[in-house]
Amino acid sequence: MNNHKIDVEKPKSVVAIVKDDDQLRGVELQDKNGTVELLWTRRSEGAQADWGQFAAVCGVSPEQTGPENDRRVIVGYTSAGTIFHYAMVPAVGEKEIASMVELQAESRLPLPADQIELAWRTEVVEDGQIGITMAVARKVQLKTFAESVRSLRPAKILLDCEGIVQAWRTIFSGDETKAVVLSMGSGNTQVCLVEHGRLSNAVVLDVGREDFLREAERELSETNERFSQDLRSVLELFGCSQQSDLPIFLLSDGDAFHVSIVSSLRMAQLNARVALPEVHRLQADIELDAEELYEYRASIGLGLMAFEEGDKELNIFSGVYRPAEKKEKAHWLYSSKLAGALAAFMLLLLAFVAYAVDVKSPEAIKKRLQASVSDMDMDLLVERQQLIRAVAQERPDMLHLLKLVNDSGERGISLSSLQFKKGQVVTISGQVGNNDQLRDFEKKLQETKGIEEVNCTPTTDSKGKKITFKMNFHYKNFTQKKVKRTSLGRP
């Protein structure tokens, strides 16, 4: 199965371009009230034409053909480098079928799985067996081709042999359940096995119109013989060698050359016929004849496929080319305009609410205060509270200071004075029995919370027995000069 679903929405107009015999051939088909109409046909001048230039000649620009437009571009990829295989597998689940298909594909192409691209689709179920059509190609070739046509922004890149089959069914009136369709080019011939109206296998033979035309009379019969032999081998490959009545249709524009080939095939016991295009099967804005329909058969076929429902084509490019996807129309809820309008409304609402809150808050506070403090003057209350705070910051606890000093000293220490003045260090003086006592006293004071930077100056008593001392230190922040200056200023 194709790895991902590509755009299945029916376009109004399709430009299909195929490279055939080194020439690009393009057509535009348009859906007019359910009837497909051919608008124009164009081919490139000279060999090795450039896709981009030809698209410009066809009036195709990426802006016109994007997924958001009704005009699509379909590009045909030549099936020459593609290997087809048809297999019957048990009709099991899709996952199991996928595994079987991958195994078969790897066995068909002697390349690692990462170097190949595989597309497959299921066909009809018969006696519990399901038919699988597979197409395998080298990834690098597909990538190169996809790059060469990327500027066209094609909606799909399809195998041209699928276009041939579609054209046979539509304009060559092919309605057989099972048939082989031959589409002869200048240097090769596409042999397509068609079952139930769809391509189930294909092979490209390297014998083409040029091979028949350049040979002399004697050698022509050899070419005919070789062509018949090749065709028999292909039928054998298709598993149809025993089906002698299997119709083989050679697509033709009515040229006698095609008739002669069919005659030679019939002489080789093959049920070959010429299939002629029926001009009336396709409405057109231009004058159409069988030759033109024949020349543009692959392009027309691919274009017609785009108008069909479903996506059952073999999309071998699904892994290497992803067309631009149509932006889905978002729900109106996701509209940026609506989001902007809502945001603007919310912003206005926010501003209004903020305004209302700011206007109402002072009144609410006043009401609350009136309810709680009755007739008291609020300003006076505030001032009182601020003064109490200021006083609390200015009021040193002398009892606490005396207690701290007393608790730090041991027995034997006799204090004679204590002096405190805001903005100056606290000074104490006294006597101790020995130096150890003094050291301990100083140490304990230093470790006391609220007392900092203790300095001690011992002096020996004139009688020599006791040591007198003077000690100063900072008490909390009351003795710091800067505090004295600023504390009252605090609210």
Binding site: Y355, P362, D377, L380, V382, R384, V391, S414, S487
Partner: protein, 181 residues
Amino acid sequence: MIDKLSEKDIRVLKLGAIGAVVILLFVLGSGWRDRWVAAKSKGTALQAKLDVIDVDKIKQAGLLSIVPAFEMPKVEDEQSFLFRDKLSEQFKKAGIKNKPLQVQPSRKSPRPGYNLLLVKGSAKCNFSQVLDFLARLNENPYLVGIEEFKIKKSDPKKPQVVDLDLTVSTFVRLGKKGGGL
């Protein structure tokens, strides 16, 4: 009639309409904005006042332990009298016979609207009396803080007797008479 207007005319009309709406919005919006700013600043000021009054219980308890009594300051003469009177009473309660209290000229306080008045007192008393006095000092509703405190043993033979020098401060209201809370 609108059919007769050219595309250019319609564009001019649209721009004119947008301009009119912008002018209207600007006029209404600026008045609205002024009212909003005024209301906002009023609200902020009130909220700040509320924050001052509405102190949490723990903080209030802490303040009360330091300032258990407080009277709003009066003008200098009245405040000086009340403060000295209360201070003398507290000395008396502690059993301290203090020398006459000296009032120093009031000086500028960093707190706007108030000056700081210092009162100096001295006495010879027992150390236990000093402790008793200090323990009750915070109950003085006019006291701001102790500016200076000095005790010194006056006689080595009487270790309990000390010389006390104390300078305390009070706020005095500047200008008109203060309220009485």
